[in-house]
C-alpha cells in the first residue's frame, strides 16, 4: 500500500548499514589475504634471502633452510612438482623461485661459487613449535669450469 515508505524504512534500518560495513570489511580482508598469499611476493622474498646466504657463503658451507611457507604456497597454487620450486643456474649465477604456475622470480648472486646438491626435503626438520617443516638444503663449492665434475 505504501511502498515508498517501506523502502524508506528499510534504508533507515541500522541493520542495512551494518551489513554493508561487514561486506566491505570482508572484501578488504579477502583482498589483503589474496595479496599476502600470492606467489609473487613470497617468490621475491625467498629468492632474495637465499641469494643473501649464497653471497655470504664460503666454499664448503652447507645450508638447511626452513622453506615450509614456500611449499605451502606452491601447493595451494598447484605448482606441478616440489622440485620446480627452487632452481639454481650456476652458469649465470642465478637463483629462481617458482611458487605459482607458469611464472618464476629470479635473482643473481655475485659470489663466485657454485651451488650444488639442492634438495627439498619434506618434513625433514622441526620448527620452534615442534611441528614438521620442509627443508631446503644445498652446498657451496668452488666455481666449476665447464666440463669439470662436481666434487
Amino acid at each position: 500500500m505504501n511502498k515508498r515508505a517501506e523502502i524508506g524504512d528499510v534504508l533507515q534500518d541500522p541493520v542495512v548499514y551494518l551489513i554493508l560495513i561487514v561486506i566491505f570489511f570482508v572484501g578488504m580482508l579477502y583482498y589483503v589475504l589474496q595479496y599476502n598469499g600470492s606467489g609473487a611476493v613470497w617468490e621475491d622474498y625467498y629468492a632474495k634471502e637465499i641469494v643473501k646466504m649464497i653471497d655470504f657463503a664460503k666454499v664448503g658451507d652447507e645450508f638447511n633452510v626452513d622453506v615450509h611457507k614456500a611449499t605451502e604456497i606452491a601447493k595451494s597454487n598447484s605448482v606441478a612438482s616440489f622440485s620446480e620450486i627452487f632452481q639454481v643456474d650456476n652458469k649465470n649465477n642465478e637463483l629462481c623461485v617458482k611458487l605459482s604456475r607458469g611464472r618464476k622470480t629470479c635473482y643473481s648472486y655475485f659470489n663466485n661459487v657454485d651451488v650444488v646438491d639442492l634438495n627439498l626435503k619434506l618434513a625433514a626438520g622441526k620448527n620452534e613449535k615442534n611441528q614438521d617443516v620442509n627443508i631446503l638444503s644445498f652446498r657451496i663449492i668452488n666455481k666449476q669450469k665447464e666440463g669439470e665434475n662436481v666434487k
Binding site: 566491505f24 578488504m28 583482498y31 643473501k52 629470479c106 655475485f110 659470489n111
Partner: protein
C-alpha cells in the same frame, strides 16, 4: 508519515553519503596495499652491505699491489659478469672524497659510474637510484674507502 516527506527523503539519502564514504575508504585501502606490494622486498642495501663486507675483507687479507688489482675479481671471489651488470664498486686509497675522486691513482678499483647518486639523499626514495654502502678503514697506515652499490631488482619471467 506522508505529512513529513522532506524528513523521510533526508533520512533515505544518507545511505548515499554512507556508500560514498565506504567507496572513498575502500579505494584508499586498495591503492595503499597495491603500492605496498608492488614495490617488492627492498634488498639492494643488504646486497651492497654484503658486497662491501666481502671487498673490505678481501683488501684486508691481501697484499694490495698491481697484481691484486689486475686479478681483483678472482682474488675476492666475485663473479665479474654479475657485478658489472648489477653492482657498483669503488675502492680508494688515501682519498678525501672517494665519491668525487678525480685522481686515477687514488682509485684502486672502479666498477660502474654515477657514484654521486650514492650520496644523494633524495635518491633514497627513488627506485631508479642505487642503494650504496660506504665504509672506511685503515691498513698498514693507509686509509681505504670502499663504496659498493646495487641496482638489481628481482626478475619475474615465464617458467
Amino acid at each position: 508519515m506522508l505529512n513529513n516527506r522532506r524528513g523521510d527523503l533526508g533520512d533515505i539519502t544518507m545511505i548515499f553519503v554512507y556508500l560514498f564514504f565506504i567507496v572513498i575508504i575502500g579505494v584508499g585501502i586498495f591503492a595503499g596495499i597495491y603500492l605496498f606490494f608492488i614495490q617488492g622486498y627492498e634488498f639492494r642495501e643488504a646486497e651492497s652491505d654484503v658486497l662491501n663486507y666481502k671487498v673490505s675483507h678481501c683488501i684486508l687479507d691481501n697484499n694490495i699491489d698491481s697484481k691484486f688489482i689486475g686479478d681483483f675479481y678472482n682474488k675476492c671471489a666475485l663473479e665479474k659478469g654479475v657485478v658489472e651488470k648489477y653492482n657498483l664498486i669503488r675502492v680508494c686509497k688515501n682519498s678525501d672524497d672517494c665519491v668525487n675522486e678525480r685522481d686515477e691513482k687514488a682509485v684502486l678499483i672502479g666498477q660502474g659510474s654515477k657514484f654521486q647518486a650514492c650520496r644523494f639523499e633524495g635518491g633514497r626514495k627513488n627506485d631508479a637510484f642505487p642503494r650504496c654502502v660506504i665504509k672506511n678503514f685503515v691498513k698498514d697506515g693507509q686509509s681505504y674507502e670502499v663504496i659498493t652499490g646495487s641496482t638489481q631488482n628481482s626478475r619475474r619471467s615465464l617458467g
